[in-house]
């Protein structure tokens, strides 16, 4: 699902399927990197809490919003067969 994405260490994201580019903040870069490296979406909240100074409720909300945004932008859309 993520082979079309090029994400730099600085959070510059290029979606090769749509040609769109994005600038991600530090936590967004972290979360997307986790997904690209194979993390399941359900595991993202714990990973965010482990690496950032954030409480559970905020982490849950942020992850949910981030995943929604990625889907809305087609970044995590599966290719049709």
């Amino acid at each position: 699902m993520y082979e079309n994405l090029a994400l730099s260490e600085n959070g510059f994201l290029f979606d090769g399927r749509t040609g769109a580019t994005y600038s991600l903040n530090k936590s967004g870069t972290f979360l997307l990197k986790q997904l690209i490296e194979g993390a399941r979406p359900e595991a993202l909240k714990e990973k965010l809490i482990e690496s950032f100074d954030v409480d559970e409720a905020t982490a849950a909300r942020d992850v949910e919003q981030f995943l929604f945004r990625l889907k809305d932008l087609r970044v995590t859309e599966e290719d049709e067969a």
Partner: protein, 352 residues
């Protein structure tokens, strides 16, 4: 042995440039041996006439409106001086005339690899519905207007907004039949009838340069997303993409059309359904075709090889993420060169 000699038209290079200069750059980049390039220009002031490393010889050409016989005579004259192996016409407006003399050119030993006349007719905006009806290629629903009395009935068939387009150029969005009326009159006075009303599709638009082998096969295609536009909506910057769904749509359309030669496809991906629609087929390279070279898919050179009867293996989709940014440039020209083109209609840079 004389070098391979290729003639290319369309050397205008203004803010709405013709494809000739980038096509020549592509050929020079693709040819393993140095080749001789003849520029076929319509105006002594076409900047491509004067650019270093573009055309070796430049000839002024008659406008297409002067007819096929005049064009053939001019090419025969040029061919007598500098034998031509391949001509690549790069402008929509000249293609019908070149098609008329294709047989005569072949007799002279001059080859082309261009769409068939029937394909030119199919891509006409006024007949675009036939792509869906006859070939099953998705296009936005459209009707042709020949009189303004048709406009009040548009409500029955379309949801607003709609696109109102001229048969050759111009497109406006209209949010009501009253707005359609205004655009209809404007387009009719500028471009004539019919005027086309088309379903408005919300989504992402992609531009594609492609070459078909004429037997249903796709030689290669480079899709891109426009990143910068001029005030005329022309691409001034873009980036290659690789979307498997879009690639399948392109391959399918080129197969159904059995398209021969180069084309530029404008394709819309509908936002909510993800369905692709063909918006336009231009029967020539786009002016941004040098991006295909940047992406490692030299489509103009492939077209030269096909014109020469050589086999060209189908190209894999290009890598995404290759950008082009166009820039303008003040070309210094000598008075002697300008004089040569204005008075003799020829300029030979190789003899300097």
């Amino acid at each position: 042995m004389r070098p391979l000699t290729i003639a290319v038209t369309g050397l205008n290079a203004t803010d709405n440039p013709a494809p000739g200069v980038p096509v020549i750059r592509s050929i020079r980049a693709g040819s393993p041996e140095p080749c001789r390039i003849i520029g076929l220009a319509y105006d002594p002031l076409d900047p491509g006439n004067y650019m270093e490393g573009i055309a070796d010889d430049i000839y002024l050409m008659p406008y297409p409106s002067q007819g096929a016989q005049v064009l053939l005579e001019r090419i025969a004259h040029i061919h007598g001086q500098t034998p031509i192996d391949v001509i690549l016409p790069t402008l929509d407006s000249e293609l019908p005339t070149y098609l008329k003399i294709q047989g005569d050119l072949r007799d002279l030993g001059v080859r082309m690899f261009v769409p068939h006349e029937s394909q030119l007719r199919l891509r006409s905006k006024a007949k675009f519905n036939e792509l869906k009806d006859n070939l099953g290629i998705e296009v936005p629903k459209s009707i042709t207007l020949t009189e303004s009395s048709q406009i009040p009935k548009l409500d029955d068939d379309f949801r607003f907004p709609v696109m109102v387009k001229g048969q050759f150029y111009d497109a406006y969005i209209a949010y009501s039949p009253m707005e359609v009326e205004g655009h209809f009159q404007r387009i009719r006075s500028k471009w004539g009838l019919p005027v086309i009303v088309q379903q408005f599709i919300t989504g992402e638009e992609y531009d594609v340069v492609a070459v078909g082998d004429g037997r249903g096969g796709l030689v290669g295609a480079v899709p891109m997303r426009k990143m910068q536009l001029t005030d005329k909506g022309k691409a001034w910057g873009g980036i290659t993409i690789n979307d498997p769904g879009l690639n399948r749509f392109i391959e399918d359309a080129m197969s159904k059309l059995a398209w021969q030669g180069p084309c530029e496809l404008e394709i819309m991906r509908e936002q909510t359904t993800g369905k692709h629609y063909m918006l336009e087929i231009n029967p020539r390279f786009p002016a941004w075709v040098f991006l295909s070279v940047g992406a490692g898919r030299n489509l103009p050179w492939a077209t030269v090889e096909l014109a020469l009867g050589r086999d060209v293996a189908p190209m894999e989709p290009a890598a995404p993420g290759v950008l082009f940014l166009r820039h303008s440039f003040d070309q210094i020209c000598t008075l002697a060169d300008y004089e040569a083109l204005t008075t003799a209609g020829e300029l030979h840079r190789t003899n300097k």
